[in-house]
Amino acid sequence: MSTVDTAPSSEAPAAARPRPKAAGGGFGRYLLIRFLLIFPTIFILVTVVFFLARTTGDPITAAQGGRLGPEALAELRAAAGYDRPLIVQYLEYLAQLATGDFGQTLTTNRPVIEVLTTYGPATFELVFYSLIVAFAVGVPLGLYAAYHRDKAQDAIARVLAIIWYAVPIFFAGLLLKLIFAVWLKWLPVAGRASVSAELQMQTLPDPTGFYTIDAIRTGNPEVLVDVLAHAVLPAIALGLLTAGIFLRLVRTNVIGTLATDYVDAARSRGVAESRLLRKHAYRPALIPIITVMGLQIALLLAGAVLTETTFEWKGLGFILAEFLESRDFAAVQGIVVLLAVIVALTNFVVDVIAAFIDPRVRY
């Protein structure tokens, strides 16, 4: 056997070892690339929407098809330039977009930007409120179900989650309205605010469109109460649907983390079960949960279409359906771009949030 002439020290080589770490700059770079990827995504969406929308007819036929004969229609179409080759129209549109101009809606003759700023805030508020409901309901119940897994409590929570998810949102909305607005008369039927509240908010200089903010700005507590009361039912309808998904997500992931060594290790140090659940199982589970929740934003927006229609919540989803029906390409494209940006930005932000929760990502 040989002699030992160096004092072994595990730290030194370990620290010097050239591990492939994600360096500080690396993560920033990753985020940058993630951010830049928004643009091809939007480009693809615009292209897809452009051609899809145009294969389905034009706004003139949609509006006048029941009044004018084929010749008159063709004349109008030619005047509007819809008879030119698609590719020319497409390039034109791209050129226009490149200058940051979304154009005018074809049917209502309003700047598309204005459509976005009028209806965007409504959708934003709806999604925001329903996320609050989804978190408030889905996460605790998910934890609860995970902790009691395969017990009756778990089964009940899961069946609830499935039912929330399974009941078509317009049907759920109708029932909520009947119960809370018609029978109990606790809450208003639909809309974002009552007529008097809306009139008060319209007198504000530069209303933001975010009714909650506008209501606060009026300085009239009744208006705020009115606005919040209107948000309750839509938020519940859309929120519970999302809560059902969150519940399943939290449950699966928390069950996963509950089975890890570090939970066992913490248990072996005498940490209380409730604390194990809240701190040790939930927090690490939050990382995949947040990521998937980010992806759910697309689903939420889709759900918003139906919620908005059901509750007279005049937001992007609802107006998009409307514009689609009237084949207002310009408006449809503008809205889809905005939605895509929202989705992409959300996922981007979610990545950043996940990075903040997960210390491993930062270094």
Partner: protein
């Protein structure tokens, strides 16, 4: 070494039939939920198959020998679930509706699987530029509000036609497009993971051509999580069809019975105190989704040894294991639940490419 530990083939076969195996495996509440789901599903399938026998009337029948049914009639002996605003028998339409639902599920899921799996396999295994493009494209489609995509597509696919097959194909086709990105994501993520597995590398080392590796080694392992996604998507298919019906893109009522359409038509009934026209199709949707989801979730839980519940054993029961050198196999489940659907790094270059 003991000679010929011949396995009993019967036992093995039974254990390899997907659902039967899991039912046998499950215990307690897990079994309860699985069996409940399966029973509901069975009722659903039986209804679809035997709809002509079970339904008292045709789905587009408005009158029989004793005259017209009348519209919006409350439940009675002749019409246990009442009649609709169009004068159809609610019970019959609910029963016939199972056929439409099943059709849509099958067409949508099959189409989505074929395309999604093929692209996912290709993208995940070969990587390269096509992969990158596909990923961005599908992410874009994913970001597109799915229902609206469905609307546009139903116009494109069927030109707005509304006969049974036109409607089903349109709905299913549009659902397909919405689902493909999901299958693509899952299969691609799985493929990327499996590609780095030692058994794929060992096949590479043996000099197996790519085609053989993809089909023999990657494909079957990557598709193992499909049953769960299929159940998830089946329920989504029904809901999307219902939502399409709600927006006026459903199937013409004399062409087929469709729950979402009926529910939509029943909207103003509900506010007028006519509850039966909405309740039953609504319940049918909820039950079907519940059934499919229960089965899917249960199968997923059972496939994951960590999630699988087991019977308690008597004190100090059982035999001490004989040779238990390396416990367990590699048959653990892949990503599960929604997490599995949507997890998976998108812009990763996993593993090492073999030079081509």
């Amino acid at each position: 070494m003991a000679v010929a530990v011949s396995s009993r083939p019967g036992h093995r076969w039974r254990d390899r039939i997907p659902v039967v195996h899991q039912v046998r495996q499950s215990v307690g509440l897990q079994r309860g939920m699985l069996v409940a789901g399966l029973l509901m599903l069975l009722v659903f399938v039986l209804c679809a198959i035997f709809a002509p026998l079970l339904a008292p009337y045709g789905f587009a029948q408005r009158a029989d020998a004793s005259g017209g049914f009348g519209t919006q009639q409350p439940p009675s002996a002749a019409h246990p679930f009442g009649t609709t605003v169009g004068g159809y028998d609610v019970l019959s339409r609910v029963i016939w509706g199972t056929q439409t639902a099943i059709l849509v599920i099958i067409v949508a899921v099959v189409l989505a699987i074929f395309i999604g799996v093929a692209l996912g396999l290709y993208s995940g295994y070969f990587g390269g530029w096509l992969d990158r493009i596909l990923v961005v494209v599908f992410d874009a489609i994913y970001a597109f509000p799915s229902l609206l995509l469905a609307i546009v597509l139903s116009i494109v696919i069927s030109g707005g036609q509304s006969n049974l097959w036109g409607g089903v194909l349109a709905a299913a086709g549009s659902i397909t497009v919405v689902f493909i990105p999901q299958y693509f994501r899952v299969i691609r993520a799985e493929t990327v993971r499996i590609k780095a597995e030692a058994y794929v590398e060992s096949a590479k080392v043996l000099g197996a051509p790519n085609r053989r590796i993809v089909f023999r080694h990657v494909f079957r392992n990557a598709t193992r999580t499909l049953p769960l996604i299929i159940t998830l998507n089946s329920s989504e298919a029904i809901l999307t069809l219902a939502a399409l019906g709600f927006l006026g893109f459903g199937i013409e009522p004399t062409a087929a019975a469709e729950w979402g359409y009926d529910l939509n038509k029943a909207q103003s009934d509900v506010t007028s105190g006519i509850w039966w026209t909405a309740l039953f199709p609504g319940l049918a949707i909820v039950f079907t989704v519940l059934a499919i989801t229960l089965v899917g979730e249960s199968l997923n839980d059972l496939a994951d040894p960590r999630l699988r519940g087991r019977r308690r054993v008597a004190q100090a029961a059982g035999e001490v294991a004989e040779t238990s050198v390396v416990p367990g196999g590699t048959l653990d489940a892949g990503p599960g639940g929604l997490a599995g659907l949507e997890d998976g790094e998108t812009f990763d270059e996993h593993g090492i490419e073999v030079k081509r």
